[in-house]
């Protein structure tokens, strides 16, 4: 329990990696790394498909990443209608690729592939918690 707090709208409450939400509550976005074989995972995982182990270390995603691609959506699935328009993006932090939304503070005109971005935790008005991509200050 606890994972239902993650995201603009949650679809599930149970996962063994709900420590991710605790991380967000500490303003940290984290990935996991297998202590046995060193394989890294984002999205974070409880189990390592490389060595079948399940001893994971949580590590913070720091610094800036570059925008791999994005789209600004004018229509939304059920439950997200009021958010429209919003921009979905995939950002590469030195090999750790993170999917999420771009901050609405970034103008449509300045959004472009390869622009530099960092992550920021966001507490939503509905009590949910998420992260978004912002411009480095």
């Amino acid at each position: 329990m606890g994972f239902e707090k993650f995201g603009h709208k949650s679809f599930t409450s149970l996962t063994k990696v709900d420590a991710f939400v605790a991380g967000l509550e500490n303003k940290e976005l984290k990935y996991t790394k297998c202590r046995s074989c060193g394989k890294t995972y984002f999205p974070p995982r409880a189990d390592c498909c490389g060595c079948l182990g399940n001893d994971m270390e949580w590590i913070k995603i720091d610094g800036t990443g570059n925008l791999l691609s994005y789209t600004r959506v004018n229509y939304a699935p059920t439950g997200f209608e009021k958010d429209v328009p919003y921009t979905l993006a995939l950002v590469d932090f030195n090999g750790i690729k993170v999917f999420g939304r771009l901050s609405s503070a970034i103008a449509k005109e300045e959004t472009m592939v390869v622009m530099q971005l960092k992550t920021q935790v966001v507490n939503l008005p509905n009590g949910q918690i998420t992260y978004e991509f912002i411009k480095p200050s």
């Binding site: 603009h8 004018n74 699935p77 993170v98």
Partner: protein, 385 residues
């Protein structure tokens, strides 16, 4: 020279429509009837059925059971198969394996979807839950958005443009007008496509296929049975299937679909042919960008050179490699579970020389490219006469 282990001996398809006025069993029957009449066999000849669709669009659970009953296919085995939009070509692969392994002689692959009972937003919500519900759906994902991200990456990496995508839609509409079973049969001009409203930038209205209700049915048989039943068997020469991660985070790049690339490589290897040997292809154009990526992932063009094919008209009939000359998903509509079977039907008609106004002269080897989700599942099938 084709492999001649397993053949397609009958094909059928319902009209693809906006709001089918019947139940899923009745919809399935429309495709079944046509395929059975095409093959000229009766239900007792069929050894097993494979029912292909994505769940949660209809209240009927375990549809394989009720559909097999309605088609008169008890006590023969049946089961349901799902790989979302590529479900029915996954069914074809399973059908092939069941015949080649000598478990069964004649198998039908019945794909269907009835999407009109739910709203478009609910439909996108379901497709959204076909993405990773832990890590991506909570951001409000939907299919047009994912494909739009691929389009943006393709533009950025290769210099392709919105106009290139619009040209793909213009081609689709040219052939869609000729297809009596297509849901969208109006002309789309280049300016119509370019000036339409944005759905998920850079994809606009005419870059996206429509939901539809529909069914398809493919009947497969062993060599011995096929020789007995039909004068025009179409052989399964090659099958390739592959996957990519469901999460975008796990992908190397968004300017193509790795699953399609691997599936194509495997299918060509099994068929012992190259992209240049393909006379006609059906590719999964759920969005215009999907057809563009297919040109490259299938080896019809080098990576980043797909736009040259459409600019030069090489994917029209008469070009180097005619693609989606039945209108594709963009014109026919995309009733998820039925789509792959409809693509196979078109290629079978082409190889039999029965494609009428859209016949590619002399077509001997054809290819089907059917994608599930945003390249999560990729199936490539090579057929020969």
């Amino acid at each position: 020279m084709s492999k001649e282990d397993v053949a397609i001996i009958g094909v059928g398809q319902s009209a693809f429509v906006r709001g089918y006025q019947g139940s899923i069993r009745e919809l399935a029957f429309e495709a079944y009837r046509e395929a059975m009449q095409d093959a000229g066999i009766s239900s007792v000849d069929i050894d097993a059925s494979i029912i292909c669709s994505a769940p949660e669009y209809d209240n009927q659970r375990s549809p394989a059971g009720i559909i097999a009953e309605y088609l008169g296919l008890n006590p023969q085995p049946t089961f349901a198969v799902e790989s979302v939009c590529s479900s029915s070509t996954t069914g074809i692969k399973i059908g092939y394996s069941m015949i080649k392994s000598e478990l069964h002689d004649i198998v039908i692959i019945l794909g269907f979807q009835k999407m009109s009972k739910i709203s478009s937003a609910d439909s996108q919500e379901r497709m959204g839950r076909g993405a990773d519900i832990l890590w991506e759906s909570p951001f409000g994902t939907m299919m047009p958005a994912y494909y739009a991200m691929h389009a943006r990456a393709h533009f950025a990496g290769y210099g392709s443009t919105e106009k290139d995508l619009a040209m793909i839609r213009v081609k689709s509409s040219k052939y869609g007008i000729l297809n009596e079973k297509a849901v969208y049969r109006k002309e789309v001009k280049l300016d119509d496509a370019l000036n339409a409203g944005l759905v998920a930038g850079p994809l606009k209205k005419f870059d996206c296929c429509a939901n539809a209700d529909g069914a398809s049915c493919i009947i497969m048989a062993s060599n011995a049975k096929a020789r007995e039943i039909t004068k025009k068997p179409v052989w399964i020469m090659g099958l390739g299937s592959a996957t990519a991660t469901m999460t975008m985070s796990g992908r190397d790049a968004l300017n193509g679909l790795a699953s399609a690339r691997v599936a194509a490589k495997n299918a060509y290897a099994m068929a012992k042919v190259t992209p240049r040997d393909i006379d006609v292809a059906e590719v999964h154009d759920c969005f215009t960008i999907a057809e563009m990526m297919a040109y490259e992932n299938l080896g019809f063009a080098e990576p980043g050179k797909g736009m040259e094919l459409i600019r030069a008209g090489e994917t029209y009939i008469g070009g180097k490699i005619p693609v989606n000359v039945d209108g594709g998903l963009l014109s026919k509509g995309h009733p998820i579970g039925a789509t792959g079977g409809s693509q196979v039907r078109t290629i079978v008609q082409q190889l039999r020389g029965e494609a009428g106004a859209i016949q590619v002269p002399g077509a001997a080897i054809g290819l089907v490219h059917n994608i599930g989700g945003v390249g999560v599942y990729g199936n490539v099938i090579i057929l020969g006469r």
